[in-house]
Amino acid sequence: MATQFDVIIVGGGPAGYVCAIRAAQLGLATAVIEKDKLGGVCVNIGCIPTKALLHSAYVAGLVAHDAKDLGIEVGSVKTDYGVAMRRSRKVSEQNSKGVEFLMKKHKVTVVKGTGVLGPNRTVRVGKDEYQARKAVVLATGSRVKGIPQIGLEINKSTVISSDEALFLETHPKTLAVVGAGAVGCEFADIFHAFGSKVTLIEALPRILPLEDAESSDALTKSFKKRGVTVIAGAKVKKATVAKDKVTLEVETGGKTESIEAEKVLMAAGRAVNTENLGLQEAGVQLTDRGFIKVNPATLETSAPGVYSIGDVAGPPMLAHKGSREGIVVAELIAGHHPQPIKYDNVPSVTYCHPEVASIGMTEDQAKERKLEYQVGRFPFSANGRARTAGETEGFVKIIRDKKYGEILGAHIVGGHASEIIHELAVARQNEYTVEEVDLAIHAHPTLSEAIAEAALDSMGRVVHI
């Protein structure tokens, strides 16, 4: 006899566990099946430990370069990646324990093991069978991937992914990072701060290719200034993997260049976990790109009563997008009518220094759609608070619809960009225009004032420049 629940969630990452909590809150008997640690990639080998390491990197930079200016003499600065790594592990473990606690608190049953979907909303874990009365939610997430076609298969010693980088005892002397999305840029930032000579390689014409071109440019400038080698629009033609080093042949601008590194960190995309899940048998279809196909309004798959959320259900592969889907799907399953998710209003953040945050359209996208827009900008070099902190890199850029003042997109490069972007997320969610953003009084001195100024600038009324 199968154990019965109302909702069975396969995967205990930020999509799955949040879905479980919401379902439990709504009175549904809920189980989460997790083969590893609760919290998923995010808590254990993603968002959380990298942010812990980035904080170490930030302090390293502060102490090494800025302390003296701030009136603090620290003598010679020595960094130890191993210590920073072990601290990041502690933070991850605390967070994972926190999720365990939350599961208990909300009386969610956690089943350890690998869930395999069966017919009629059943899930097998080893020999045990579980029956969902209402719904099964697939939240199996994604994993790093290599590029075996060019010889860059992850071997966990010289060709590594973030999974391994997060557990290194020492920093490599030289590191090539392949892929300059958020993950690539963050690790370039971390290892550079710990003393690695870093080369950041991106196939597309600019790093952070999904961000606004001005954001990419600002970060490139900052990296280069610090001594990170940035090669964009570059194709890795061939990789020769030796025992203690990797040689990459990189073609850029018609020239082929050879780059040698102790380790190569692969950060060129992720693969979704759809294998050995019993999807085909249960009638769950995939999209052309390999994601689980869902109805965007209901997040239901092609198999009735089977839903999917998070990375495996499609981009953007971001924890906060997955969490939101978890909440919405739990409410749908409970018969509520949640507000639909605005997928065009999911903030995107890269936590390197300076931070890069954005929401909505890039200027190029606005141009492509032939929208009539007006750009407002404000540099942090003109912001009092940024100057007090000595963090004057970057800017706020707001793209305003000319006719209605709608905030089409916003881009922030600078210290704490990840925090202050949410003002614009709230504004966009509620359809405030730039005028409401300006009308809200911003405390002085704060970084957020730069947002109000950029809003004003989009109307041609900037005050402080």
Binding site: Q339, Y404, G405, E406, N430, E431, T433, E435, L439
Partner: protein, 466 residues
């Protein structure tokens, strides 16, 4: 307990409403949903309905008054119940803070606006609006945001609520709705708690843009235009809601003065004959009066214009931004080319002057204009302008209105033309008149009627002395 009845925002863009007529009188019993009054909004005449049952105790404002949204207009209570002094008074701020009465739900921007307006502009019932008005909010967006729009929320029970809720709508949705002329009251909101968001407007059907609505008949558009003795030089009439909307929309579309043009060709045979006769008579008189008999076509046109303006006061007006000044006097400006440009000396009370007087005065004014010896009071204060380029062989042209005047007549040359006349082709002296009209005041039909009258007078100059 008494319940206050306030001016509701019956359309999303409504900031104030003119209480056209009370449908319930003091002492009448009212049930929830009964029509209390008709209110003219910026779009249409709509009904103000009762949100509470009882007896209509008091009309706080009289019919005809313009009342800002959310201001008190009446009080409902039990028969015989005393209306507290406070409740019986208008005054947005106080009324709103009165926690003892249910239903003062309106808050925030709407409330503030209401009270602000009440201090600045509160008209006493039955009177015209004061001449000075508070300036409009600095930007359109501010206005859009502060604009309270209301629909009564679905209510459970009969709650003694007098004030309406607001239409919940995002600022973006409000802007799009305003732009497209969509009434948010009719839009089902899909946002949190039924909030109208931009996507809800994708399917919403736009009501007809205000600018394309048929112009109302003169009587509805502006209160009956009084003919007063000359001791009252003009009458200021408050702008009706539709007039305000027309003004705003048209100005947005075309510029500060939304102008349109009307052209009419006039048969000048009889004017020419009359002029010949007058000149001949002048010669016969000779001596002292001789020079006075040099009457020009332009003098005759000015006289005819002045007489026609008498019959069409809408064209004898000034646009004053927040009201329209209908002049009871007729002062015709005539454009005179001078060395450095042009100037418009005014023939005052042209409708009351004889052709002889007008002829003498226009010659004197024109001569002194060319010498730049006019006094300011001689070239200001006109109520309508005549500009004539006929002597320069211009067939027809359009002239630019000289604000605050709302109309100008461009006179083309008089020329012999073959025209159909009495069933045969005849050579007749014809002249083209083109009138520029400020659409904020003069609608198409209004201008056309004026022009028709003028044409009739010129084609039958005896009408000038009729």
């Amino acid at each position: 307990m008494t319940t206050k009845v306030v001016m509701e925002a019956l359309s999303p863009t409504m900031e104030e409403g003119r209480l056209v007529e009370w449908k319930k009188q003091e002492g009448d019993a009212v049930a929830v949903g009964d029509v209390l009054a008709e209110v003219e909004t910026d779009k249409a005449v709509m009904e103000l309905v009762a949100r509470a049952a009882g007896t209509l105790l008091k009309h706080v404002v009289e019919a005809g008054a313009t009342v800002p949204v959310s201001e008190l207009v009446a009080v409902i209570g039990e028969a015989g119940e005393a209306v507290s002094e406070e409740a019986g008074k208008r005054g947005g701020g106080e009324a709103k803070r009165d926690s003892g009465t249910a239903g003062q739900a309106d808050s925030g921007a709407a409330g503030q606006r209401g009270s602000k307006d009440s201090q600045a502009t509160q008209p006493s019932p039955g009177q015209n609006r004061p001449v000075s008005m508070p300036p409009a909010p600095p930007t359109a967006a501010v206005a859009a945001e502060q604009r309270p729009s209301a629909k009564p929320p679905a209510r459970e029970g009969n709650g003694a609520k007098a004030a309406p809720g607001r239409v919940k709508a995002s600022p973006l949705a409000r802007r799009i709705a305003a732009e497209r002329g969509v009434d948010l009251v009719g839009v089902t909101g899909s946002g949190p708690e039924g909030r109208v968001v931009a996507r809800d407007l994708e399917t919403a059907v736009a009501t007809a843009p205000v600018s394309s609505r048929p112009a109302p008949s003169g009587a509805t558009a502006s209160a009956p235009l009084p003919r007063r003795p000359a001791d009252v030089p003009y009458t200021d009439v408050p702008l009706t809601q539709i007039r305000k909307t027309i003004a705003r929309r048209l100005a947005q579309s075309i510029g500060p003065v939304p102008t349109f043009y009307l052209t009419s060709e006039v048969d000048m045979e009889r004017v020419a004959e009359a002029r010949e006769a007058l000149r001949a008579a002048g010669k016969r008189e000779g001596g002292e009066a001789g020079t006075d008999a040099k009457v020009s076509f332009n003098d005759i046109i000015i006289k005819a214009v002045a007489m026609a303006l008498r019959q069409h006061p809408a064209c004898n007006s000034w646009w004053q931004d927040d009201h329209i000044r209908y002049w009871n006097e007729v002062h015709v400006s005539m454009a005179v080319a001078v060395e450095e440009g042009l100037i418009t000396p005014v023939i005052r009370h042209a409708d009351q002057k004889t052709l002889r007087e007008i002829a003498a005065e226009s010659r004197d004014l024109a001569a002194r204009a060319r010498e730049r010896r006019l006094k300011p009071e001689e070239y200001t204060g006109g109520t309508f302008t005549v500009s004539n380029l006929g002597m320069l062989d211009i067939d027809e042209f359009t002239a630019i209105i000289n604000p605050p005047e709302t109309g100008i007549l461009a006179v083309g040359r008089m020329a012999e033309k073959p025209v159909a006349h009495d069933g045969a082709v005849a050579i007749r002296r014809r002249m083209r008149l083109t009138m520029s009209c400020d659409h904020r005041v003069i609608d198409g039909a209004t201008g056309a009627q004026f022009l028709k009258t003028l044409k009739g007078m010129l084609e039958n100059p005896l009408a000038l002395v009729w």
